[in-house]
């Protein structure tokens, strides 16, 4: 799923959380809580019950009043990889036996980002729209498990996608929001849902999760190569739409696509998240090492 050279390159990267998040365990990330690390942060008045070891005796000797030394707390980060495995993610214009390029790209992105998070000591949770869950796990040793998990759901979700089961984004994200802690959420989805994902993203944000969106769209969605008189069938809803394709319709599609992307990006950014469009035909290295670094997701 991931090549050695890519893994090698990923090993040097780490996920940037948009802002400080409170973690559960001490980790390598600066926590908003004051903790016991070596970096001094501030003083505060001593109140009974404070650990007397943390009183700054030098200050007490000078001022005759006890002050507690506060240090930066370093905690871990919980990274939620929300992987959309709805049937639309398995769609490809040309029917084939292999996995759709779109899904493959999304799965590889999830594996790569999960690997980065595991490698930097963050807690990794993978949730799929189909209800599969991985983690939470820490440590690079779990990377193999993560990749095995993603390969497993690739097969299972593909079977489900063949059956045409519809998965609503809002419902999935709200379900995820019930059981999360503050951290970083990366949503990998095409966002192709009638009802959008505003409520779900809002629910996650309410739990202190910044939802960053990797908007995976394949070339057949970005610039459709369809022509003629067609009856378009939605792979999720099985709804049909008659369309006679000509230059005007394609131009209208292009306009609507741009507007919709702008709308999705605005929703994400409204809740403090970041948005990156992923053209799934691009090489994975280009997406991870170039686009996401440029956008500041990885550093």
């Amino acid at each position: 799923m991931l090549t050695e050279s890519l893994l090698n390159a990923l090993r040097l990267l780490r996920l940037n959380a948009p802002r400080r998040r409170a973690g559960l365990y001490a980790g390598e990330r600066r926590s908003p809580r004051r903790g016991r690390s070596v970096e001094f942060a501030d003083y505060r008045n001593y109140t009974p019950g404070d650990d007397p070891r943390r009183v700054d005796w030098n200050i007490y000797a000078r001022l005759e009043r006890p002050y507690i030394r506060l240090f930066e707390d370093e905690e871990d980060l919980t990274v939620y990889l929300l992987l959309d495995d709805s049937p639309s993610m398995f769609w490809q214009a040309e029917e084939g036996d292999g996995l759709a390029q779109k899904w493959l790209c999304a799965a590889q992105l999830a594996a790569a980002l999960g690997y980065v998070a595991l490698a930097t000591g963050d807690r990794v949770v993978v949730e799929t729209a189909g209800g599969q869950r991985f983690g939470p796990r820490r440590g690079v040793a779990s990377a193999a498990l993560l990749i095995a998990f993603i390969e497993r759901i690739s097969v299972e979700s593909r079977h489900r996608a063949r059956a045409g089961q519809r998965l609503a984004l809002n419902a999935w994200l709200k379900r995820c929001a019930r059981d999360v802690r503050p951290g970083l959420a990366i949503l990998i989805s095409d966002m192709l849902d009638e009802d959008g994902a505003t409520e779900g993203i809002g629910a996650l944000a309410g739990k202190g999760l910044a939802v960053n969106l990797l908007h995976t769209l394949c070339p057949d969605e970005l610039t459709p190569a369809l022509s003629g008189d067609l009856q378009l069938v939605d792979v999720e809803t099985n709804g049909a739409q008659d369309v006679s394709l000509d230059a005007g319709v394609l131009a209208a599609y292009d306009r609507q696509l741009s507007a919709w992307r702008a709308q999705v990006a605005a929703e994400v950014q409204r809740f403090g998240g970041r948005y990156v469009l992923v053209n799934t035909s691009q090489p994975l290295e280009a997406i991870l090492l170039r686009d996401l670094r440029r956008e500041g997701w990885l550093s």
Partner: protein, 603 residues
């Protein structure tokens, strides 16, 4: 509008397979997509901007069906018929007679008619053929069954109106020869309708296009000269053909010198005569002209000329033992100088006329002779007394001759040659004979088969008439038998080699065809060997001077019914339909390829 090939409408059944193919084509191919979300929005976007999108497929079908319809219609060869327009074969009779020069329609009736004919030429269809016939004194076809508009226009522009009267009989014969009366031909007559009653005889469908508005016209209907005691007197008659009383200033000139001018009151529909005296007898010709009049639309009949025949003297040799009646009768004739002799004089050459009163003589070759009584020329075979009048044969010398009261005691039965025909016959035999010799011994001969002294003819009114007629026929006033006044366009029988001086001053030497250049009114002088003379060309034509248009004339035996006339012009336009079909095909292709142009699209 109608079609020539209705069977072509069966091709319209091709619309059925087109619709079937269209319906089959409408079964769209199913194409799974990740989501129809954006597509639905795109369609909504598109439809919100143009309703055409929903109809686009239908537009293609409609365009295809319209293309088929145009093609089928073109195959059916439709044609339109313009009312009054040209038929497939058009015969145009264009009146070019004198009355068409009237100026009641500016610039003239003829020009107005010409403009209408020109419009008819312009409206000619591809398959139309036109025959253009000019109707004047000698109707002629300017173009026969021609579709060449350039040629037709050129022929029309070259046509000039004449001063002759329209010869409708000949024009109708010509039109019938061209094809008037056949089913597909229509005759158009552009005329003022004056003097055109014959038009009803025109075969087939015809339409009369009246030209002209007013009939106000004054004409000089008569100009005559006679000898009076102190010279010449002219009789001028001015006729008012209009409906308004009119005053006209009339001037009379002797050659170029003004003799008299007077304002004449001419009542509507009437005529006024004016006798002008004091014209010198030396004048060779006179001219009368209507100078000023208010309602005078035709200029051609406002001038008239008269030639003074009296100053061209003819010489007669009278050989008689003595006959007072005969001498007096000859002396009374104007323009005749009579030499009397009792016997045959030694010099007998050079006389225009020889009168032999009971005398035998040998006359020079080519002489004209009036032979009275028994002579040696025609031997009398017998004498008959049964001289009661039987009949008079038509002959110039018998004009106005009343023989019924003439009594002849006895007459000679002459051994006359065949060419000498009886003019006045009695019960016993011919009394007066006349004829023209086919050989050269004599030219014209008038013979009286009785002695004047044995008859009461000299006492009768018939005698001076007979003498005057005989002299006029035997020795015409000008030496040639030429009328003093002819109509424009009339051919004057002048001998070959005659030099004619036209009113314009131009001189023409004639061939053997006679003189036909008499279009211009005026005095024509001529010189034929020793003989000099002149004649006048005058527009004395009451029918043409009466220019009142007759718009209610019926022309043709079947005046084209309005419905039939509406079908006269069959102009096919299948090529336009075919071109439209091609254009629709291009549009259909374009719509299919590019989609309909979006309206009000944002940039």
């Amino acid at each position: 509008m109608d079609v020539l090939n209705p069977l072509a409408f069966w091709f319209a059944l091709l619309a059925i397979p087109i619709v079937l193919l269209y319906l089959l084509r409408l079964r769209r191919r199913a194409q799974p997509v990740s989501s129809t979300l954006l597509w639905r929005r795109a369609i909504l976007d598109r439809e919100a901007n143009t309703l055409w999108q929903r109809l686009r497929r239908n537009v293609l079908l409609l365009l295809q069906l319209a293309t088929l319809a145009f093609l089928v219609f073109a195959l059916a060869r439709p044609y339109v018929s313009a009312p009054g327009g040209p038929s497939r074969q058009i015969i145009v009779l264009l009146d070019a007679s004198a009355s068409m020069q009237a100026a009641d329609v500016r610039p003239s009736r003829f020009e107005a008619a010409r403009a209408q004919v020109r419009a008819l030429i312009e409206a000619l269809g591809m398959n139309d053929r036109m025959t253009l016939i000019a109707v004047d004194g000698t109707p002629r076809a300017l173009s026969a069954l021609s579709n060449d508009k350039v040629q037709l226009r050129a022929a029309l522009d070259a046509l000039r109106p004449t001063l002759s009267a329209a010869n409708w009989g000949a024009a109708i014969a010509l039109a019938a020869a061209v094809g008037a009366g056949s089913e597909e031909s229509t005759t158009f007559i552009f005329s003022d309708g004056a003097n055109a009653d014959d038009l009803a005889l025109l075969p087939g469908a015809a339409r009369f296009v009246p030209i002209g508005e007013s009939g106000d016209n004054l004409s000089l209907s008569t100009l005559a000269l006679r000898r009076v005691r102190d010279g010449l007197a002219a009789l001028v008659r001015v006729t008012n053909h209009g409906l308004r009383d009119e005053q006209a200033l009339v001037a009379v000139r002797a050659e170029e010198a003004l003799i008299d001018a007077r304002t004449l009151d001419v009542p509507a529909g009437g005529a006024v005569e004016w006798t002008v005296g004091g014209i010198p007898s030396t004048a060779r010709w006179i001219q009368a002209e209507i100078k000023e009049a208010r309602y005078n639309l035709l200029a051609a009949d406002d001038v008239a000329y008269a030639v003074n025949a009296a100053n061209v003297a003819r010489r007669a040799l009278l050989i008689t033992p003595g006959n007072l009646f005969l001498e007096q009768a000859l002396a009374a004739l104007p323009g005749l100088r009579t030499t009397r002799a009792a016997a045959l004089p030694p010099e007998i050459e050079g006389y225009d006329l020889y009168v032999l009163d009971g005398v035998s003589a040998t006359l020079p070759a080519g002489a004209n002779a009036l032979l009275i009584g028994a002579q040696g020329i025609f031997t009398p075979t017998a004498v008959f007394s049964d001289t009661a009048y039987v009949r008079t044969a038509p002959h110039p010398i018998a004009r106005d001759l009343d023989w019924r009261t003439v009594s002849v005691r006895d007459a000679y039965r002459l051994a006359a040659p065949d060419w000498l025909r009886p003019v006045v016959e009695g019960q016993g035999g011919p009394l007066v004979l006349a004829g023209e010799s086919p050989d050269g011994a004599l030219r014209r001969v008038v013979a009286l088969a009785f002695d004047l002294r044995r008859s009461d003819l000299p006492l009768q009114i018939a005698f001076p008439i007979l003498i005057a007629n005989s002299v006029a026929w035997l020795a015409p006033p000008q030496g040639l038998d030429i009328p003093l006044s002819v109509q424009p366009g009339e051919v004057v029988a002048l001998p070959a080699g005659t030099r004619v001086t036209l009113p314009s001053g131009e001189t023409v030497t004639l061939g053997t065809q006679g003189f036909a250049q008499t279009e211009q009114p005026g005095v024509y002088a001529f010189e034929a060997g020793q003989v000099r003379g002149a004649f006048a060309v005058n527009f004395f034509n009451v029918a043409e001077s009466r220019i009142a248009p007759n718009p209610n004339l019926t022309a043709g035996q079947s005046s084209p019914a309005p419905a039939a006339e509406a079908q006269v012009a069959q102009r096919e336009f299948w090529h336009i339909l075919a071109a439209l079909a091609l254009a629709l095909l291009v549009i259909e292709w374009w719509v299919y390829q590019r989609g309909l142009p979006t309206l009000g699209r944002r940039a």
